[in-house]
């Protein structure tokens, strides 16, 4: 029997579907791909690395294979004092973000500067490297680009980590943000029509080049977090809030993330959650004046990654 009576219909079906794909996939793809990256996009790429979701570099989403963001106040090579500088350390073997792998991600002007001034043509996964986001000003026009400081300034990975004032593991933290489903309730997208006052500036067209995944979030059951680090930069508050949100915000419906401590505190002592709960209940009932102390987290705990990420959302 076949489809012979339906030849015209089948052809029309193919034409309709193909046209739809051209208009909804190919054309937007072309347009979006021509977007020039902003400095924010370059910073995000270097902070978060290749992918924050599932990837063979980090199949179980433990936060492996991610760069380290460091704050420098002295030159790692000479030891001389410098203005506070943010550098991104990719240890050997760390996967690189799209913008360092492909030459069409960041836009032609940025790519040209990154290669000519930033020596990003010498990028290598095996050797790793230290990266910076710098700005070139020409005729009053500011263009950000990526600089491979290992090549231009001789900053080695070890010396940079040693000279670092602060290590921010926001790349691993974004993995936690995705794995723990923070984005099911917290959006990362202040809306253009409102939100300016409480949640800050909406993101710009070029803020996302090279980022994966973008995790805008779609269902806002909780405050937008795109600029949360600018509103609240207290690590202690974050620590209490993640351990038990009701501790600082009695009406919060956020889940507790006490398990991200990994069962031990900074000194390696086991955390007794049952005892903590008992004391907290006593505090809520009024039979205790102060709530129980929240244990300080270990430096390599998952909660550290997550708090680093959240505080890094400026």
């Amino acid at each position: 029997m076949g489809f012979r009576e339906y030849r015209i219909g089948s052809i029309m079906f193919g034409v309709a579907l193909a046209t739809s794909m051209v208009v909804t996939v190919y054309m937007p793809g072309l347009d979006i791909s021509n977007t020039t990256a902003t400095a924010t996009a370059l910073e995000k790429q270097l902070t978060y690395g290749k992918v924050a979701g599932f990837d063979y570099g980090d199949p179980f989403l433990h936060g492996d294979d991610k760069p380290i963001k460091v704050i420098l106040k002295k030159d790692p090579k000479t030891g001389a004092a410098i203005d506070e500088t943010v550098a991104y350390v990719f240890k050997p073997g760390t996967s690189l973000p799209s913008g360092l792998v492909h030459d069409h991600i960041n836009g032609a002007a940025i790519q040209a500067l990154s290669v000519s001034l930033g020596k990003t043509d010498q990028v290598s996964v095996e050797a790793g490297g230290v990266y910076l986001v710098v700005k070139s000003v020409k005729n009053g026009v500011e263009t950000p680009y990526i600089e491979l400081a290992s090549a231009t300034r001789g900053w080695t990975i070890d010396a940079t980590l040693k000279a670092a004032d602060q290590e921010i593991l926001a790349g691993a933290g974004k993995v936690m943000f995705i794995r723990e489903g923070c984005w099911w309730c917290h959006t990362l997208l202040p809306e253009q029509t409102h939100d300016w006052q409480s949640f800050g500036r909406p993101p710009m067209l070029g803020d996302f080049n090279g980022e994966s995944p973008t995790t805008f979030g779609s269902d806002r059951k909780a405050p937008d977090l795109l600029h949360v680090g600018s509103r609240n930069s207290s690590k202690e508050w974050m620590m209490m809030h993640f351990f038990n949100p009701r501790l600082v915000q009695p009406h919060s419906i956020m889940p507790r993330y006490d398990y991200l401590w990994g069962g031990v505190d900074k000194k390696g002592n086991n955390i007794d959650l049952a005892k903590w709960d008992e004391e907290f209940d006593a505090y809520r009932e009024g039979s205790r004046v102060y709530p129980p102390e929240v244990p300080e987290y270990a430096d390599n705990s998952e909660i550290r990654y997550l708090i680093d990420y959240v505080l890094d959302l400026k």
Partner: protein, 468 residues
């Protein structure tokens, strides 16, 4: 099931694959709504079941979504397609054996997909949360065999024309494979930035628009004429429905990202196309309701018609919301609020679940050759589903409007959380009713297999009166 996987094609009774799919989608429906009810409890009472890593909201939320979409909704589509397609072609299913294997691959795949997702192995992209190896498995081991079976059964039909329902079955499952492969391209080829964000919603939109809505409609195109005995009101309008789905419904993906910095032309285009979704929607609803002419008493008397028509009636608010809530004038108010959650449940738990429940009730009786065990239990299930869903929908819509007001006036967020609390409790109650109703349904279906009155050859279930 194992027995039929390794027997000869001619030894497998007709309808086997459909029955297996029917029971497995029922199981998944119970699991999915159970998780949904559990999640809702967590939103209402955040300290409920805390400390358990595996039972965290952030891990369970997407498992709920994918269990109901791929376990229940698409599973029920498979169960329906595997008996409706041959029936409409006056032929046998192309391969019962492939169908049985397909069902096995489906359940094993879902088990794998949901546990990895539960475990936290996600791509971080809404609706395409599964990691890409799982996406490939779904496309090639779950959907492709189903499509081949449907397509080959249509090719081998013994009727001259192809009925409306089968256009949708053939077209939608074909488009689902394409949507899976194109929509997950960001993961296969590591596309990044706004391309990734846009393709995420391209996938999400088309999974709903090119699969769930049209196939649920296709099922009602079969059930209503079959059970009422009325011919379809108009095939022309059916044509309009089918073609406008392909042309209009496949294009407005960007309307899910109206407040993101996507190119403005794309958002405007998507918004206009989004309103045009009303063309297939109105055509469809009119066509089905006009088919009911002279048989409206069956809406009360017949359980399959009761389910189907409720689904079709729920499609009216669904499409009115869908067409207009994505325009800039309304979207800025409701975007990202519980209104959208209510709308999503109206589509999946309202319209399409009611249509599929009818198809599963009807198909199981026909394939098992047994009359439903208890009409009272079926009615009880219907009302649990309808009241539970209505509580959910109304409470979430109100919560969404509160959130919207809080959002545009930039009310401190905590005040919104406090104001929403009562509605979160109602949402949980509604979801729990749906869950409990489904357990009753499974019992009813199980008893139908064991004790349902046997149907004589050549008799359809709705032609036999209930004896109980």
């Amino acid at each position: 099931m194992i027995k039929y996987m390794f027997s000869k094609e001619e030894d497998i009774p007709g309808g086997t694959a459909s029955i297996f799919f029917g029971f497995s989608c029922l199981m998944w429906f119970i699991v999915g709504t159970g998780i949904g009810s559990f999640n809702a409890a967590k939103l209402a009472f955040p300290d409920f079941f805390t400390h358990y890593y595996a039972l965290q909201f952030g891990h369970m939320r997407q498992v709920h979504v994918h269990t109901v979409i791929f376990g229940w909704i698409v599973g029920a589509f498979a169960a329906s397609a595997l008996y409706i397609v041959p029936a409409l072609g006056n032929t046998k299913l192309w391969s019962e054996k492939l169908g049985v294997w397909n069902c096995m691959a489906w359940n094993v795949g879902l088990m794998l997909a949901l546990s990895t997702l539960w475990f936290g192995m996600t791509s971080g992209r809404e609706y395409s949360d599964f990691m890409w190896p799982i996406d490939l498995y779904i496309a090639f081991c779950m959907v492709t065999p189903l499509f081949i079976n449907i397509f080959m059964s249509i090719l081998n039909r013994r009727t001259q024309g192809i009925y409306t329902t089968n256009w949708f079955f053939a077209g939608s499952f074909f488009m689902l494979i394409i949507v899976f492969l194109v929509g997950n391209a960001p993961e296969f080829f590591h596309l990044t930035g706004l391309n990734e964000a846009y393709m995420t919603w391209w996938f999400a939109h088309n999974v709903l628009g090119l699969l769930i809505t049209p196939v649920a409609a296709a099922i009602t195109y079969y059930i209503i004429p079959k059970v009422t005995g009325n011919p379809l009101y108009s095939h022309r309008v059916g044509h309009l429905h089918f073609w406008s789905i392909v042309v209009f419904y496949s294009t407005p993906a960007a309307h899910h990202l109206m407040s993101s910095p996507l190119p403005e032309w794309l958002k405007s285009f998507a918004s206009v196309e989004g309103v045009l979704i009303l063309v297939p929607a109105v055509a469809y609803v009119c066509n089905i309701l006009l088919t009911m002419q002279g048989r409206w008493s069956m809406f009360v008397e017949n359980i399959e018609i009761k389910y189907t028509i409720t689904g079709v009636l729920l499609a009216i608010p669904l499409n009115m919301q869908g067409g207009f809530q994505q325009t800039r004038a309304i979207n800025w108010y409701v975007h990202g609020t519980g209104w959208i959650v209510a709308h999503a449940h109206l589509a999946l738990l309202g319209f399409s679940t009611f249509a599929e429940a009818a198809a599963v009730y009807y198909g199981m009786q026909t394939m098992l050759r047994r009359k439903l065990y208890s009409l009272s239990l079926a009615n009880f299930h219907f009302w649990m589903l309808l009241i539970g869903f209505s509580l959910y929908w109304v409470s979430m819509t109100i919560a969404g409007l509160i959130q919207g007001a809080g959002k545009i006036y930039e009310v401190p967020y905590l005040d919104i959380v406090i104001a929403e609390h009562p509605y979160m409790i109602v949402r949980w109650l509604g979801g729990t009713m749906v869950f409990l109703g489904n357990i009753v349904w499974l019992y009813n279906m199980y008893m139908t297999v064991k004790k349902g009155e046997k149907l004589e050859h050549g008799v359809l279930p709705h032609e036999v009166a209930y004896v109980r």
